[in-house]
Amino acid sequence: MANGKVGAVLVVGGGVAGIQAALDLADSGFKVYMVDESPSIGGVMAQLDKTFPTNDCSMCILAPKLVAAGRHPNISLITNSEVLGLSGEAGNFEVKIRKRSRYINEEKCNGCGLCAQKCPVEAIDTYNKGLTDRSAVYVEFPQAVPLRYKIDREKCIGCKTCQEVCKANAVEYDQKDSEITLKVGAVILAPGFEPFDARLKSEYGYGRYANVVTSIEFERILSASGPYGGIVLRPSDGEIPRKIAFVQCVGSRDAQLGNLYCSAACCMYSIKEAIIAKEHVPTKLDCTIFYMDIRAYGKEFDAYYKRAQEEYGIRFVRSRVASITEDPATGNLFVHYVGEDETPRVEEFDMVVLSTGMQPPKNVEKLAKALGIKLNKYKFCETGAFTPLETSKPGVFVCGAFSSPKDIPESVAQASGAAAKAMAIIAPERGKLVAVKEYPPERDVSQEEPRIGVFICHCGINIGGIVRVPEVVEYAKTLPNVVYAEDNLYTCSDDTQKRIREKIKEYNLNRVVVASCTPRTHEPLFRETVREAGLNPYLFEMANIRDQCSWVHMHEPDAATEKAKDLVRSVVAKARLLKPLKNPTVNVTPAALVIGGGVAGMTAALELANQGFEVHLVEREKELGGHLRKIYYLLEGEDPQDHLQKLVKAVMENRLIHVYLGAEVVEVSGFVGNFKSKIRLNNGEEKQVEHGVVIVATGAVEYKPKEYLYGVDPRVLTQHELEEKIAKGRFNARKVVMIQCVGARNEERPNCARICCGQAIKNALKIKELDPDAEVYILYKDVRSYGFKEEYYREAANKGVIFINYSDDRKPKVSNEGGKLKVSFYEPVLKQEIQIQPDIVVLSAATIPNPDNKRIAEMLKVPLTKDGFFLEAHMKLRPVDFQTDGVFLCGMAHSPKYIDESIAQACAAAARAATILSKKVLEMEGIVAKVDEDLCSGCKICESLCPYGAIEMLEKEGKTVAHVIEALCKGCGVCGTACPTKAIVLGHFTTEEILAQVRAIMREMEVAAK
């Protein structure tokens, strides 16, 4: 601490954003204290059933992160606690925390749950949104991290039963709240949001009518681990509903309540809930969504919206629901609404789901005061368009829904971004406060017979509801070399990891098989577990009996059970042959290659340079700035050109950033930690650079419309052209028609271009500012002014901008009649065709992928979406990663987005890159090829086949033999398959192992067929 800085960060809030920030910081050499008010981490995401637009099971993708955060040696979880105060300054804060008593000793409790089983008192189960009860001593959910019980002091009667049954002596009734003081260099706020209290919208009857539920309650109703076991039931009578209404914007976009903002995620989660409800209900279910605008503005969201309508037959009704009444005899609900044709209607439903919006977190004012940060008028955290991650206090950063309502991927991107911001402050202290993870010495199992332990997961009811798991367990016990088998409710949970380690010891296991979900997500977790028990991590194998069995054969329990047995037998056959492998290591070149010099690329470069890493920034154009150069003003009022100039100056003046203008990356070779790339400079020369990571920030381009007389009549412009006209004082039209969704949301490009609604509103407001009497018409499909942008939509409408809805079957027409521009369109309220003769027509042209993406994607071996944007590793939880290690993306290369979003992603990419660049040595995957030099004939076939140049030929004892450069080997196994003498073998996928799997699968099948 020579410079007085502290290499630790406080993360406030343990939801998905807080967890991501904590993991990024901890993985790049900083100590993290994560404080959460709840007794366990996970936040709202832990309560969700599925996530849009991939319908991934929320808990399934979150649980590995929970476990990773829970077991990370550099992360201290301080749950059931609150922040009391912050003093000091950026780099060296002192933070005071109150740890509220759990009445259970966290060190002693092993989460066995006996106390909860025996507790005589019941309390309302808040995790399940009050739809059922739990005991007074409890954990929030079965996969809770930390899996430590807590006594609900409000409900506990002090009967001492738990104390008597607790084998670990963990119950401490006299435990007192305690205060701790921590020293940290930076603070990241991720306290999330509070769902709107639907009782305040009394006309909807929530709290009075049993069958009116909120969206989070409905998530629990949908969840297999929820109170109804995943069957959609009406709370009033336990019947399966036939007709469900979803009412949008409850607590959002509501002037009466003073919540003028849009909650940004509700449209999509309602569509998701409707889809999942239809999947869960065995009988016919009608879902209707009452909405004002469907705001499916994110990546691939519109395609999902379309599927909801066309594939699932979900009905969408554009209207604001006036009130809901109940038929007390049946519990059915009457939804009173005004249809698009302005006539009041009433429709009967069995159940109503209120899509409740996001509010600032509870006790937000106390938190703001404790930390000394400013809140905006809605009491969300105040941030700026160019500083989306910064609070009003230096050194205190923000991410997730606390700065504005947002969905998971944006929260995750912001979280990584905030981590980068924090890293920059305390970069010199990296590595000083962290623990080095120690593993027990690896047991030598080479002389032992295989002793296999099999752990079979119920995954709640995801597997166990279809596959008869106990039967598979009994079957597994009969397989050769299996000495132990058991079933688990969730094999991935923290407590099961402990069990696996214990069973390895108890039964002296030397191979472990888990039959659960997909190894693509869960293999690392279990490998780590066996490693912690002193086994080589590659003495582990997985059978996928969920994603590829129970979930795809939901109506065939017998066949699914048989298949699960086959799959278990097959991996047991492989496990018998598994051999330990060693993870090779590579040195890391602590430099980055950033492709694209727009706002995203420049921000990413600066963030990395601020942490002390060298950056090569390559821009195809002759100047930096990209898209931002064409933006002259923002909705929020800040000056983008001023920001651009400052950014360019900072980049150009930074010693660590090498800027290549008019240049192109033409070749990338190597791998994570050790890339070598060729840059073609503007003088035609090629320069080779070495770097450890790549960040793709190639941006996007404006669509050049082919429709509405664009390019034919000079009075038809795009929004960018209009903006330039206005900015340069060349605008003088008095009557303007804007047409939205040009080149987007159509057959060719089904998805929304996200930023055009904001652009149109921005330009319309500017026109009104210049000339309040100017007439502006915006013809739209849905106004997608999400988050706080909603206010500007309202402002525009108040200032007389006229918004007119059009549908795909009645698109507006633009014509030139006798030299006059004419726009005709159908007015849905008046129910007639209207014609206007505007001075200009402005087209909100879509933002479309950079045409260069395809070349870059092929060069980097990373995928593109159907639309042509770059496709990240995971839509929800890995928004700036690629599946390929060491390659990241940010900005509009990912999808269209506003400047603040690009900046957040750019910071995120920098943080993710820093998790690699901060390491001198990177440990690689151990699955690599190996050569048996005695068998090798030196034929060189493998050398010519290897796509990575990972094989070289060496002279050894007068003989030419192949040799594998382990750091380059990616483990594809192409060499081994081609080798004529079978001298080259891919570890963990040896020919013997795979053949054993094949035979094991087929053998029993024959038996079954007889």
Partner: protein, 249 residues
């Protein structure tokens, strides 16, 4: 259980130390069963006695401070309080259960008390419950009385209300009584649901009708029973899920 045909059949569980009369006269309609201490009586056994067809149960113990086992009599008082709650829930007159605490040198003879109680039961007449309903309700009451939750609360009542709980606080009698009321009721309903769904799978609505409860409340009990492994979904008929009881460990 016909009123006219015969005097009511009564069982009297009697403390070994009460009524040490040399030659105790016992009315012929009363069976006396000696126990070591009335405080050690299993509440479930009392309910079982009703199920077996007896129309009144009398518990005889020693008047404080004379319990041979220090506080068995106080314990019996609390058990009877709970049993009376259960009897009321089951639709049987709580007066059919009587706790009599007598001094070692009680003046009046046992036969006097037995006769008095017999007459009281006689006046109550037959239970208004039909045979199968009677069995269902009393079985539910008996199983509730055996439930761990109730046993714990009963066992701890004295400590919690008269001395102090784990936090050094004393829980007011009324507060504890209210809690006990809730728990007794919940356990009774859950075991009644369990009894009914043992016979055949039933829906929430059907159960609500039988129990005279709102379906809303029944569904909530079912969610809790599911959590405790007492019940499971059997099948869905049309739009109606039917539940069946699981064997309770």
């Amino acid at each position: 259980m016909s009123q006219d045909s015969h005097p009511p059949r009564i069982v009297c569980f009697m403390c070994n130390w009460a009524f040490c009369e040399e030659e105790m006269r016992i009315p012929y309609n009363v069976d006396v069963i000696r126990v070591m201490c009335i405080g050690r009586m299993d509440p479930a056994l009392v309910l079982e006695t009703f199920i077996k067809g007896f129309e009144g149960v009398m518990l005889v113990g020693c008047k404080p401070p004379d319990c041979h086992f220090v506080d068995g009599n106080l314990h019996a008082e609390r058990a009877v309080k709970m049993l009376k709650k259960l009897l009321a829930l089951a639709g049987l007159e709580p007066e059919r259960l009587k706790l009599l605490l007598v001094a070692p040198l009680e003046e009046r003879a046992f036969s006097h008390y037995a006769k008095e109680f017999s007459e009281e039961i006689w006046r109550l007449g037959n239970s208004p419950l039909k045979k199968d309903e009677f069995i269902a309700n009393l079985t539910a009451a008996k199983e509730a009385a055996s439930a761990f939750r109730l046993r714990v609360l009963l066992g701890r009542e004295e400590e919690l209300t008269e001395f102090m709980n784990a936090y050094g606080e004393k829980i007011p009698e009324e507060e504890f009584d209210a809690l006990l009321d809730d728990v007794v009721k919940a356990e009774y309903i859950r075991y009644k649901i369990h009894y009914l769904t043992r016979i055949k799978p039933r829906s929430v609505k059907e159960l609500a009708q039988i129990l005279g409860l709102k379906p809303f409340a029944v569904l909530r009990h079912i969610t809790n029973m599911r959590r405790k492994g007492m019940i499971a979904l059997d099948r869905v008929e049309g739009y109606t899920p039917l539940y069946k009881a699981l064997e309770v460990r």
